[in-house]
């Protein structure tokens, strides 16, 4: 058998959290679930989950909402920049 140069391991196994200098945090009580942050994330580091009671109102609390995956978020800040409600904060990462 010969060695064939193929790559088979998904980068889902390759964390990029160490790239992050600024950390985005979503203020869910202001978030209207427009999903623009999810839409524009170049690192595909925002997941969609169901129903979060921390929300501006009950209707929105039942909606799908964005969750930042800090294993992959590189902290580029596009989400914060594009957020129409300005409810994503960018703060310097504190390594604990």
């Amino acid at each position: 058998m010969v060695l064939v140069p193929v790559s088979t391991v998904s980068t889902r196994n390759h964390l990029t959290d160490s790239w992050r200098i600024q950390r985005p945090t979503i203020q869910y009580d202001k978030c209207i679930r427009c999903m623009i942050c999810w839409k524009y994330c170049p690192d595909n580091a925002i997941n969609i989950e169901n129903g979060n009671k921390e929300a501006p109102n009950e209707r929105i609390a039942k909606m799908e909402y964005p969750v930042i995956d800090y294993n992959f978020c590189k902290g580029c800040g596009i989400c914060a920049n594009e957020c129409p409600e300005k409810c994503i904060d960018m703060e310097f990462e504190v390594i604990e």
């Binding site: 058998m1 010969v2 060695l3 064939v4 140069p5 193929v6 790559s7 088979t8």
Partner: protein, 402 residues
């Protein structure tokens, strides 16, 4: 005049038949017999009649394949690379500058371990413009990871395509193969060729089963980048190991072919009248064929000389040549190619195989550059130089240019 080593023309099968055809037609039929499914090529003299023949076979429904004429040789091999990667047996043909234009893709195909077979009609490299026989084009590609076979007859050119796929697709080899014909001397010359029986070829050569073919169910990256501490070095070493492993596979598959088709091809080399030879000529391609003829004449005049014909330049038959040269007084290596700063490339390969193992005078001969005819008297003068135990490089039939 008595002849040795004449290949019989007994027919193995009722479906075999013998007819006259050019080398390029023979090669095209070889590709057809190998059941290639995808062909991509760009025209260049003297390769063109190969792909014209294949295109006409497809147009006449004699061959079930797709032919794509692309806009360059680089693209021809890139397209063949890609189709082979989908798991389809693919083929291309080129010559000279076309081959040079493919150089990057040659490495890419070999590195991705794709068992593609390509025909190359050996033609000179300009300037000046020259369309005639000269092996400098393929010798230039000796380090690209392709196996390289030089044929001396149209029959061999046909059969090499069939054997080529079998060897290249061997799970222990998985390297591409280049099959050579000398420009015009084979490509445009008509001679008798036995058309192989398709059923027998099918028995010899099964369908391609590329284990790592493109499959959206099993997504992979093909040829991603690799780092100094990754496996890059190991991939390259594995290609060398496979090339070495190919020696054994070539012997086995050539033997199998010989048995099935009643031929008598040598594997990496062929020997002619070497059993009792005091002197040896080492040559490739049609020069070797002419050397057979001249050796018979020289033998009649009492010179015990034989021929080692190199079929496979890659992998190079170091051990086989050494074995034969053990018993001769001196030898000469004929190159129909030029390496600037070195001259005889085959010569230097032979010498490196012999180094430290036997010590006989071996001389280097450069012949037939740019299609200059290699005549009986040229081989005779080479034999005379070998007999004198000469060393060094000799240019044969070179004119004084004023």
């Amino acid at each position: 005049m008595h002849r040795y080593g004449i290949r019989g023309d007994r027919m193995k099968s009722v479906n075999e038949f013998r007819t006259i055809m050019t080398g390029n037609d023979a090669v095209a039929y070889g590709a057809k017999l190998a059941r290639v499914k995808f062909i991509s090529a760009y025209p260049i003299t003297p390769q063109t009649t190969i792909v014209e023949k294949l295109a006409s076979m497809i147009a006449n429904d004699e061959l079930d394949a797709k032919y794509v004429e692309v806009e360059s040789e680089h693209s021809a091999l890139a397209a063949v690379f890609a189709s082979e990667l989908t798991g389809v047996r693919s083929y291309t043909a080129t010559s000279s500058h076309g081959l040079l234009y493919m150089h990057e893709m040659l490495h890419w195909v070999a590195g991705q371990r794709l068992p593609i077979v390509m025909s190359v009609v050996n033609r000179a490299i300009g300037p000046p413009w020259n369309i005639w026989a000269d092996q400098s084009d393929t010798i230039n590609q000796r380090d690209t990871g392709w196996m390289q076979v030089y044929s001396e007859s149209n029959q061999e050119a046909m059969d090499t395509i069939i054997m080529g796929y079998k060897i290249a697709e061997n799970s222990g080899v998985m390297l591409p193969l280049m099959s050579m014909e000398d420009a015009f001397i084979l490509s445009h010359t008509s001679e008798p060729v036995t058309m192989r029986d398709q059923d027998l070829v099918n028995e010899y050569l099964p369908d391609l089963d590329l284990k790592f073919r493109i499959d959206p169910e099993n997504p992979m990256g093909y040829g991603s980048y690799d780092t100094p501490d990754g496996s890059f070095m190991e991939f390259k070493k594995d290609m060398i190991d496979s090339m070495n492993n190919a020696r054994k596979v070539i012997k086995e598959e050539t033997q199998k072919f010989n048995e099935m088709f009643e031929t008598n091809y040598g594997a990496l080399i062929e020997r002619y009248r070497m059993d009792d030879a005091d002197y040896a000529i080492i040559a490739m391609g049609t020069v070797a064929s002419t050397a057979r003829f001249v050796i018979d004449r020289l033998r009649e005049n009492g010179l015990n000389i034989g021929l080692i014909r190199i079929r496979y330049f890659r992998p190079f038959p170091y051990d086989e040549i050494l074995e034969d040269l053990k018993n001769v007084k001196s030898a000469g290596v004929i190159d129909r190619s030029v390496s600037f700063g070195l001259a005889g490339v085959t010569y230097s390969e032979v010498i490196s195989g012999l180094y430290g193992r036997i010590n006989i005078p071996v001389s280097s001969f450069i012949v037939g550059i740019g299609g200059r005819d290699v005549r009986i008297e040229d081989i005779e003068s080479i034999a005379e130089t070998i007999r004198n135990g000469s060393t060094g490089t000799h240019w044969i039939n070179v004119k004084r240019v004023v």
